[in-house]
Each structure stands twice: as structure tokens, then as C-alpha cells.
Symmetry: C2
Subunit: 508 residues, 2 copies
């Protein structure tokens, strides 16, 4: 194949990929609107419009012509450096294509239709504390999840294909091993803290007017490097980040006027996701290489900016005075140390999304283990509510008064598949410390800079080493490039021991 022919075929492939990206980005705009501004009665037609865009995009993704173009381009791509834009594009598109074509469109359409109905059921069943109302539907979701997994024969564990969708390269076994190791370290820390007087976080539970909360959060986001020329913040029910191009990446937040930490840390969390997407090289914009490389790596960035920076002493050494000035009445008599302890309060609780840094991962592990058991068939959907309670009592020493904050708590199982949706949260926590430690090694002055309210060096290091690559490298490849080794929990445990050892006895 001559040069000209390669160029033409590459152009043809890129044109097709750009069209698919336009369709999926359009669907994302519709989804953003749905959860921010759409009037209630617009819901049914909006669901249909999004489904149509999704279906057309999928038809174009599995077009056999893409397979033919890849066949033709691969010999050429193999002559290029592994990390070149072109070689990476061909490699990642091949991976995606093989994944897409293995799931029959009929099965995918059925699952999507089922998921939409299952989600509706859940939105009613949760407030009604009625697990029986979703039980059959969840059993069907589980069945579809198995069918999807079985489109990828040759797995070691039936959850592997589902885990691979979100965290490519991870498997049930490797995640289990990592989680077991982590658990062994975490439980003693959590137990040591549990015996001590919990921090007093009443200073966060006063009345904080919405507008001021939103303004402070957005100020902090902008200080992190979130550019309102390329993004914006809106209110929603369940905060998220969404990207319509490298230059239009939006965050959403939710404000509780009686809880200062809710909107603030949610905003910093979503800002972390957004900085990742905004930092992808413009050369990759509109291609499948734009965006985060895995659920875990994405979460590592949201948690890094939310927790390792946003809940750190250096950050508040600079910004607490500003927060006090924003809420003088509420905070004038609250010392910085009291505030710091409040935002880092550790206490076993029922709700994953409200959990502290130490116990959060135990919530995730419960869900991950239950998912595997459901997929294996060692746990039935009928027995799931009680299995949930039992694990919470065993691992966290708490029991939800009902299924509302039990098995009905998270949307994940009721809006997609069972399997693959939770491990990324904990992988992200582990990676956040791994990456942060590397950044500090390269630039030991980062904490001092944060203490000045500046984040440029940290942001620059992350952009250079993680963000700009987009999906060029898998999580494991990225970790290897950044640290010279595989994923390890050591930096995360070091981080927790150092931080909480200073706050509580018998932790470090």
C-alpha cells in the first residue's frame, strides 16, 4: 500500500470517527440538558432522541468498513512509534471495534430499552423502600449482564468483560487481590479511629446560602485551572462532569444549604474530572483518543483534586481565611483546625457518596463482592438485600434501617449492567496517591505552592504526564510510564497513614 493510499484511508477512517464523535457528543449535550434545564414534560421525547443518536452512532461504529480500514492501516501503523498519535489511534480503534462488534445490536438495543425502564422503576421504588418492585427487573438486568459478558468467551471470571469495559486490563481476580491487600491495611486504620471520639463537624451543618456556596466552589475550581472559556458550572440533582469536545467540558453541582461540604467537595471532585478532559491534547480532539483512559484513572483525578488537594492542610492554610470572609457569621468562631478536622471526619456510615476517605473503599468493596457473587450465581437477587445488610454490619458495623439506604442506594445496578461499575472508584483512590506522590517527587515545592493558593506546577505535571495522552495508553501502561512499575497500594496507604496519623492516635 503506497503512501497516498495510506493517507487516504487514514483520512477516511478519521472522517468516520469524527462523525461518530459528533453524534455521541450531541447525545451528551442532550443528556446534560436533560439533567440541568429540561422542563419535566420534555422527558419522553428526550429519551427517544438520545436513543436514536445512540443507535445511529452504534451503527456507524460497527460498520464493517471500519474493520477493513483498520486491516489496511495496521501494517503501516506498526512501523510507527507506539506512542505516536497515529499508531495509538489505530490500536485503540481496533480494540473498541472488536469490543463493539461482539455484542449483537439486538441484544444491545434490548438491554438499553430494559435499562431505561429499570431506571424508572428504581426512581419510584427507592423513595417507597420497595425492593420487591425492582426485584424482577434487577434479575433481568443480571441476566442481560451475563449475556453481554458471554459475548466475550474465554474469560477467567464472568465479570471480566464487564470490568474491562470500564477499566481495561483489569480482571475480577486482579481487582480482588488488590482489594484484599487494601482491606487488610484499611480495616485496622478504620478500627483504630472508630475507638476514638469522632471529630465535631457541626460547623459544616449551619445555614450557608446557595449563591455564596456556588461562587466559592467555582472560585476554587478556577484557581485549580478550570477555564470558564472552555467550561461552565450548572446545578443538577446528581453532580457529574460531561465533555462535548476538548474545549467544552462542563461540571454540575448540587447545593445543600445546611451542609457546606456537599457542594464544595462535589465541585472540586467534578473539577478534577474536568481538568483531565480539558488537558487532553487538542491533536486528539474529536477522536476516540480524546477523553479519560479508564474509570479508575478518571476517578484518580477527581479524588486527587477533591481530597489530596482540596481536603489538605496546605489548601486551607491559604483558603480558609477566604472561606471565613465568605461566611463570616457562620465561621468567625470556628478555628481552621476545627474546620480541617470536620472536613476530614472519619466515621463508619451508610452512604457511599458521603463516606470519608478511610471508609469509602469498604463501601466499594461490598458492592464489588456482591456483584461478583450475583454474576457467579452464588447469590440470588432475592437474597441481595439481606446480603447487603450483613456485609455492612460485618465490615462497617452499621445497618441501614431499610433498603432505601441499603440495596436501593446506588443507581448503577438499576441503569445499566450488574458488574464493572464500582471497582473504578477504589482503583481511582489508589491511583490518586500513586500519581500525586510522583508529582511531589518531581516537584517537591508543590505543597508550598498550594499553600500560596497556586496549583500551576501540579496541574502542569498532571497535564504533561497523564491528561494530554487521553486514551493513548491503558491505565496499566500509564502507571508503568509514570512510576516505572505496576499499580500498587503503598502510596495510598502511606498517604492515609500520614494524614490520619496526624489526626488520630494509633493510625500511623
Amino acid at each position: 500500500m503506497g503512501e497516498l493510499s495510506v493517507e487516504k484511508k487514514l483520512q477516511e477512517l478519521k472522517t468516520r470517527l469524527l462523525e461518530i464523535d459528533d453524534l455521541t457528543s450531541a447525545a451528551s449535550v442532550l443528556s446534560w440538558d436533560q439533567t440541568t434545564y429540561m422542563p419535566p414534560a420534555g422527558a419522553p421525547s428526550r429519551g427517544r432522541q438520545m436513543a436514536t443518536l445512540g443507535r445511529i452512532a452504534h451503527e456507524k461504529r460497527i460498520d464493517p468498513e471500519i474493520g477493513r480500514l483498520l486491516d489496511a492501516l495496521e501494517p503501516w501503523a506498526e512501523t510507527l512509534p507506539y506512542d505516536s498519535d497515529e499508531a495509538s489511534l489505530i490500536r485503540v480503534v481496533r480494540h473498541d471495534y472488536e469490543q463493539f462488534i461482539k455484542v449483537p445490536p439486538r441484544l444491545l438495543a434490548e438491554l438499553n430499552e430494559h435499562a431505561a425502564g429499570a431506571y424508572q422503576l428504581w426512581t419510584q421504588a427507592r423513595p417507597a423502600n420497595d425492593f420487591t418492585a425492582v426485584q424482577d427487573s434487577l434479575a433481568k438486568t443480571l441476566d442481560y449482564s451475563r449475556q453481554i459478558a458471554n459475548c466475550f468467551p474465554g474469560y477467567d471470571h464472568i465479570a471480566d468483560p464487564l470490568i474491562d469495559f470500564a477499566d481495561r486490563g483489569m480482571k475480577a481476580e486482579s481487582v480482588r487481590a488488590l482489594f484484599a491487600e487494601l482491606r487488610q491495611q484499611l480495616v485496622p486504620i478504620a478500627k483504630a479511629i472508630a475507638t476514638q471520639e469522632p471529630a465535631d463537624d457541626s460547623c459544616l451543618k449551619q445555614n450557608f446560602p446557595e449563591e455564596k456556596q456556588l461562587a466559592f466552589g467555582l472560585m476554587a475550581a478556577q484557581k485549580y485551572g478550570y477555564d470558564l472559556n472552555r467550561g461552565r458550572q450548572d446545578k443538577t440533582h446528581h453532580p457529574f462532569m460531561t465533555s462535548f469536545s476538548v474545549d467544552d467540558v462542563r461540571i454540575t453541582t448540587r447545593v445543600k444549604e445546611n451542609d457546606l461540604s456537599e457542594a464544595l467537595f462535589s465541585t472540586l471532585h467534578e473539577t478534577g474530572h474536568a481538568l483531565y478532559e480539558l488537558g487532553v491534547s487538542h491533536d486528539l480532539d474529536g477522536s476516540p483518543l480524546a477523553g479519560g483512559t479508564s474509570a479508575g484513572v478518571h476517578e484518580s483525578q477527581s479524588r486527587l483534586w477533591e481530597n489530596l488537594v482540596g481536603r489538605s492542610r496546605p489548601f486551607w492554610n491559604h483558603y480558609y481565611a477566604q472561606l471565613q470572609a465568605t461566611f463570616p457569621e457562620q465561621l468567625k468562631n470556628v478555628s481552621q483546625d476545627t474546620f480541617y478536622r470536620a472536613i476530614n471526619k472519619v466515621q463508619p456510615s451508610l452512604i457511599r457518596t458521603d463516606a470519608d476517605e478511610v471508609t469509602y473503599n469498604l463501601h466499594v468493596m461490598i458492592r464489588f463482592d456482591l456483584e461478583l457473587a450475583l454474576l457467579e450465581g452464588t447469590l440470588t437477587v432475592q437474597d441481595l438485600p439481606e446480603a447487603w445488610h450483613a456485609r455492612y454490619e460485618a465490615d462497617l458495623g452499621v445497618r441501614a434501617p431499610s433498603d432505601v439506604d441499603g440495596v436501593l442506594q446506588d443507581v448503577h445496578w438499576y441503569a445499566g449492567t450488574v458488574g464493572g461499575s464500582f471497582q473504578g472508584y477504589t482503583l481511582g483512590n489508589v491511583m490518586s496517591a500513586l500519581f500525586f506522590e510522583q508529582a511531589l517527587r518531581a516537584h517537591p515545592g508543590i505543597p508550598a505552592e498550594i499553600e500560596q493558593g497556586e496549583f500551576g506546577t501540579l496541574h502542569g505535571w498532571l497535564r504533561e504526564n497523564i491528561y494530554r495522552h487521553g486514551r493513548k495508553f491503558t491505565a496499566n501502561e500509564l502507571i508503568e510510564r509514570v512510576t516505572g512499575g505496576p499499580l500498587t497500594i503503598e502510596p495510598y496507604i502511606r498517604y492515609l497513614r500520614t494524614k490520619y496519623g496526624e489526626l488520630y492516635q494509633a493510625v500511623a
Copy 2:
């Protein structure tokens, strides 16, 4: 063809039409976002995304399978009542399809690409008062407009196909005749008023805080029947109404804090457009029958609610006290009569969109005549700026100090075709009085109801007689059904003479 076969083919046609509707509605959401909330840097990718959706929708619109389905269904449709949903669908889809397939996709793509560039040029040329910067581009637009028109051979006037796109059934000759008749009536009225002291509208030019203006406008819109469960109001630069389904119809507005009339009447205007779209029968939702039947009929509804209701004495007999209560400082010493005269001030001016009810149509006629002359070739693009000034001097007795408020004033010629984009504004004014007169004949109590701040009877009549039909009937068919006769200017002239005869001498 048996019954079953008909049903299956009809279903197949509807499925295809729904898919097209989903794509065009999605494009509308993207456009709404672009002009309300999109961060600036999102523009380039947004343009591409909208172009992709438009291209895919067009490919599906001109799919020969639609022609084959129509061929198969027409004999059956002809056995159905003319005004049935099914017969109307087949009839309107046939009309649209024949129109779509006559324009080569290549020409359409070229025109769209050119229009995007031409619009960009205009956004820079207008503030710079530099017509020469857009002259070549406008000449090209004119050439494309002729090419589009020539896709429909057999016309009487080259503008006819372009007029037909917006106002089906109208032609250059019929519009010219109607406009000539109207002009003969309007000019003496305008002249009679021009000799008298203009109304004092300084009461509108005080400082009116944005939030209160927005709230009052939205209150009035809701009183009209605009349901926030099915719509919403947002701010933008150039107000518009947009529809994503029968149950999601949005308005936008622009506030000038030093001009009370700007946002208020713009809101009532867009609400009129919205009530039309919201009133379409749910049975037509998602089909090409949903939406307004022509530019003129659409404008008749915006003008009816803006002017015939919103600038009427009965309306303000009820709402002026509320407006005073909203802006006590500004309006406490302004009598209702002074306010009424201010919002109905007649004075020849330079800007179409700011023009009063009497002179507005003269602005439109100037543009319409210039369009025809350009298309005929009796006027060159080079001579257009001076021709514009000459007509304004002759018709309105004013001359813009530059092209900014002259030939560069309206976006229309710089963002689409030359031809067909202006006649609808005046047709709408004429129809607004025609329809309103019929509503009053059926329900003489409407003014008394408006005086109570209620609009249900008027809204109900319009929904029953106009809105619910969507695009089932052409403008002319609709007028015939509603009035028993053809389009006539008499009601509109009667309306103007009555209203302005009471305000000025020698008018009635």
C-alpha cells in the same frame, strides 16, 4: 395493497420520519445551547456537530425508500378525509420530499458551508461598518440563491421557490399585490401620525433591574398559558423560540435595563410563537406535521400575543397596577395612559425590530422589494447599500448614518439565502388581525376577559382553530377554513385605524 400491507408501510414511514425528527430536534437542542449557555471555546466543535446532524438528517430525508413508501401509500391516503392525520401526513411528506430531492446534496452542502462563513464575516463587518468586507460573499449567496431557485423550474418569478419554502402557496406576484394594497393604506396613516407630536416614551427609558423585568415577563407569559412544565425562559443575544417536541418548547429573551419595552414585548412575542407549537395536537408529535405551517402564520401568533393583546388597553387595564407595583419607584408617577401611549409610540425609525406597528411593515416591504430586485438582476450587490438608503428616505423619511443600521442591519441575507426571508413578517401582521377578528366574532367577551387578566377563551379558540392542526393545512387553507375566504388586509387595517385613530387625529 391489503390493509396489513398499508399498516406496515405506514409504520415504516412513521419510523423513518420519527428518526429524522429526533435528529433535527437534537440539532435544535445543540443550537439552543449554543446561543444560551455554551462556553465560547465550544463554538468550532459545536458548528461541526450541528452540521453532522443536519447532513445525516438530510440523507435520511431524501432516501428513495421514502418516495417508494409514499407511492405505495398515496392511493390509500386518497380514500381518507382530507383533514385526517394520515391523509395530511402523506400529503405534507410528499410535498417536503419533492422539495428536498430537487436540491442536489452537493449544492446544499456548499451553500451551508458558505452560509456559515458568510455569517462569520457579517458578525465582524457589521460593527466595523464595512459592507465591502461582505460584498463578495453576499454576491455568492445571491448566486447560490438563484441556483437553489433554479432547482424548481417552471416558476413565474425566480423568488417564488424561495418564498414557497417559508410561506407555502405564496408567490412574488401575490405578495407584491398584497403589499401594494397594504402600502396604499399604511402610508397615509403613517403620514398623518408623523405630522403630530410623537408620544413621550421617556417613562420606558429609566433603569429597570433585569431580574424584575424577567420575572414580570415570565409571569405574563404564564398568564397567557405558557406552561413551565413544558417550556422555560433563558437569556440570549437575539431572542427566539425553539421546539424540541410538543412538550418542550422554549423561549429566550434579552434584557435592556434602560428600556422596559425590550424584554417585555420580546417575551410576549416569543410566547406567541411558543403557544402555537405547544398547541399542536399530541397525535402529531414527532412527525413533520408538528410545528407551525408557515412563517406568516407563525408570525401571526407572535404578533397577536405581542401586539393585539400585549399592547392593548384591556391588557394594561389589568396588568398596569402590577407593573407599577413591580417598579414602584420608576412608575409611581406615570399614568396608565402615558404608559399606554409610550408602548404604542409611532415614529419612523431605522431599525426594523424596534419599529412600531404602523411603520414596521414599511421596513419589511423595503427588504422584500430589494430581494426581488437582486434576484431579478435589476439591482447589483454593489448598488445595494445606496438603494437601501434611498428607499428608507423615500418610504420612511429617514436615512441611516452608515450601513450598520442600513444594509448590514439584518442577519437574514448573511446567513442563508437572499429571498423568501422577509415577507412572512408582514404576512404575519396581516393574519394576526384576521385571526383575532374571527376569535372576537366567535367570543365577543374576549376583551372583557383580557381586562380581567385572563386569556383562556382566546387561547382555546386559537388552539382549536389554528394550533392543533400543525402543518396539516397550508396558510391559505387555514385562512379559508377559519374565515371562509382568502387572505385580506381589511381586518388589519381596521385594527390599526381603530387603535391609532383613538391615539392620533386624522387616522380613523
